[in-house]
């Protein structure tokens, strides 16, 4: 009994001593500024930083935000002397590419297993940690469709229908990760030879291959071209602004990517960066993300922004992300060979 009391008392004393000694040390731990490279939309950054700093006030975040391709190129160009402390929100495809170049330090955040399967990397320790997931969707201008007598597509194969000639725009896989998402998802879904056959016919209908994944939906929103293959990041935003578009996910499901957080090799503040990774898998982080994105890492959260697609997870196609990464160069080269020489865009 006395032993037990002593033990408890001792434990309490130890804890007290710890708090007394370590408390000031912890409180005094110097403020850290993490340089974060991100391709997420800027709206999420300030709220996310605020929510994160409620738990870790000593860590500040300095953002460099740009398109995914720019960030990817910049990370490669800076590899001799890395400036980045944390990669926050870059598609898995890009992060795995960087990992294969030896630029990523695998790390398993505490609580990683609580994330949905698609938000987790199969490697152990994982290379990336999912933050949110976007879907490839069709932005379909209903006003122009009626004017031009265009039926509503319900399956991907419908887009090859000659009725859509000169009405479709999509991001070029040579320039945009989303554009490549379309290509590899069709390859994996239809089988390669059927997919190339479909692409040959789709090519007849495509008016413009754009460099950014947002542009096709913007074209659809102003009726410049009636159908834009884009993402559910741009689509809901345009629809909320009043554009007469429907966001269509064909019944044969769609491509997706998970924008993720990862620890770069050469991070100047790896401990603080790991705290940021740990926090990214908490329900609070997912809730913050859910205000701006439909699909987030913690299961059961479904409070996306206006016009986002509810239960988007169920519409995401089942395919191998690794396959898409391993075959990227080959598929893009083939696509380049078949369609890049096209110069004159087709008129309406």
């Amino acid at each position: 009994m006395i032993d037990k009391i002593a033990q408890r008392f001792g434990g309490a004393m130890l804890a007290l001593a710890f708090v007394l000694l370590a408390g000031p040390v912890l409180a005094q731990s110097p403020p850290v500024t993490l340089v974060a490279y991100t391709s997420l939309q800027k709206e999420i950054l300030a709220p996310y930083e605020a929510a994160f700093r409620k738990v870790h006030p000593e860590i500040q975040i300095a953002w460099v935000r740009d398109a995914g391709g720019v960030i990817h190129s910049r990370l490669l160009a800076e590899r001799a002397n890395p400036r980045v402390d944390i990669i926050f929100g870059l598609p898995v495809t890009d992060i795995v590419g960087l990992y294969k170049e030896g630029l990523i330090e695998p790390y398993a955040p505490k609580g990683y297993e609580k994330l949905k399967p698609r938000f987790r990397d199969a490697r152990d320790p994982p290379v990336w940690t999912g933050l949110e997931m976007y879907l490839n969707v069709i932005c379909f201008n209903t006003v122009e469709a009626q004017k031009r007598n265009l039926p509503r597509p319900t399956r991907w194969a419908d887009l090859a229908n000659p009725v859509y000639r000169g009405q479709i725009t999509m991001p070029s896989p040579a320039m945009s990760n989303t554009g490549y998402g379309y290509i590899h998802s069709w390859m994996q879904g239809m089988g390669e030879s059927a997919a190339w056959d479909f692409l040959d016919r789709l090519h007849q209908n495509v008016a413009v291959y754009t460099s950014s994944s947002a542009t096709p939906c913007k074209y659809a929103s102003t009726g410049e071209y009636a159908i834009g293959l884009s993402t559910d990041l741009t689509g809901p935003m345009m629809k909320t602004k009043g554009a007469p578009i429907d966001l269509i996910v064909p019944t044969d499901k769609t491509a997706w990517d998970v924008e993720s957080i990862a620890l770069p090799k050469g991070s100047k503040h790896p401990e603080a960066a790991k705290l940021m990774l740990d926090w990214a898998v908490t329900p609070e982080a997912s809730q913050t993300f859910n205000k701006y994105y439909g699909i987030v890492g913690i299961p059961g959260l479904n409070n996306g922004p206006p016009n986002s697609i509810p239960d988007g997870d169920t519409l995401a196609a089942d395919y191998s992300v690794e396959w898409s990464i391993d075959n990227r160069d080959r598929l893009i080269a083939e696509w380049f060979k078949r369609y890049n020489a096209k110069s004159e865009p087709k008129g309406n």
Partner: protein, 570 residues
Amino acid sequence: MAMAQDVIAREPARPIVRIENVLRNGACVVLLAILAVLIVMPLYALLSQSLEDADKHFIGLGNFVRYADNPGLVQSVYNSLFVSIAVTAITVPLAFGYAYALTRSCIPAKAIFKGIALLPILAPSLLPAISLTYMFGNQGFMRGLLGGHSIHGPIGIIMAQVFHCFPFGVLIIGTALGISDGRLYEVAQTFSTPKWRVFWTITLPAVRYGLISACFVIFTTAIVDFGIAKVIGGSYNVLAIEIYKQIIGQQNFQMGAVIGVLLLLPALLTFFIERYVNKRQMSQLTARAVLYQPKPHRLFDATMLAFVVVVALCILGVNAVAVFASFFKLWPYDLSFSLDSYDFAAFDPGGWSSYWNSIIMASGAALFGTVLTFGGAYLVEKSPIPASLRGLLHILAMIPIAVPGIVLGLGYVFFFNDPANPLGFLYYTMTILVMCSIAHYYTIPHLTALTALKQVDKEFEAVSQSLGVPFWVTLRRVTIPISVPVILDVATYIFVNAMTTVAAVIFIYSPQNKLASIAVIAMEDTGDTGAACAMAMMILYTSVAVKVVQIGLSKLLFPKLQLWRHPDAS
């Protein structure tokens, strides 16, 4: 300087010559060293990768062979040449006519027309592309004029490029036409030489250098520009877009470097053409020259006015469409009036700091850039420095215009972020942004200053020298006062361009010195067109304000400094 004056006071003549030479050659070497750091080494850091494989092994010309094997890429060479030649062929005559009217006729409101001609430089180059889509796109109110052709392709690129390049033409040709010897025209009149002959034998030869410079600048700008082709080019492949596909789309730096090298070729070619023409160029403004003053001529002035008004209306129209469009609630479906696009609350938190960063950066670039470019042009044109140094200085100055911003920016990363580089501390600072912007926009200020200096007679230097007046006195008392308008032009040019620059700095800005122009692109990227518009307008207002200050300063200083031009007045 003080020491030099001491020397002058004690020992006249010969030692001064020696000091002069040391100073001039020294300045030349310093400038060459600066240009090497600003331009050559960063470019080498990237372009040398065109001879390497992905693992940095030297593979000779293998990448170039692979390039030539790709029909799509070869097609883009052809497309780029076509577009750039068309843009040059349209823009140069237009700009010549416009500049001619401004300098050689008695049309009213010249200052206003000149201001309108320069509007396209003040706004981001995205603007004409967006406006043209609104006008001629599939939903555009003037699409009928294209006769069924699509604006998303070569037509759109050419139209937007002509708009974008027009000010360069007016600036350079205007400088050439602005300084000419009135006595030649008086003589011609005395002999009743026909007007066309006067034009052909006096006017054109006198501005030959300016014309060639203008052709070169417009051609290279058109072939290198990426923003316009991206927004309005549709799937029309041009070299600048291919660079983007390789570097940003596929992280293939080696292939990007190959295209970067190819784009340098036109610059090299023009360099040699120019050297040839240069030998035959005569100075217009001899020491005895009387500045040409246009005399009123009703029919000629009316024709010129009509031409200038039509061109000015086109420029204003393109700008006006963008302004109107920003007031529509949702073009083209809901055209009710709305101020949503000007909702400043949509600004991102870094918005205003980016704006001030841009101001600081552009001012720094304008200040140091003007000193460098004018000093460089002076050394090339007015100093007896060794021909090899002169040629080297000049070709270094000509390179930047042929370099796409994305190539220069990446080169800066590779060069300055190298741990072995003693200048590495500059990376991630404001200084490197200033350096990069000066390098990026070096060529046109250099050419403008050179064109102006070429027309000032070398006799000024010769006479000064024989009188034992050191060159810095001639520079201060004669050359700089004559050149004040051009110096102000150059400073303004660098400032407004640095305000809108994107491609070159997108790889090297740090979180602490983000720029307004980058914020515009980012906001446009994420669909926040309202805030993007607001920030773009802030850039435009600032540039217009700077332009107005420049015109005011010119008005204020010009009469005092140029008294010599009007002997009657003094």
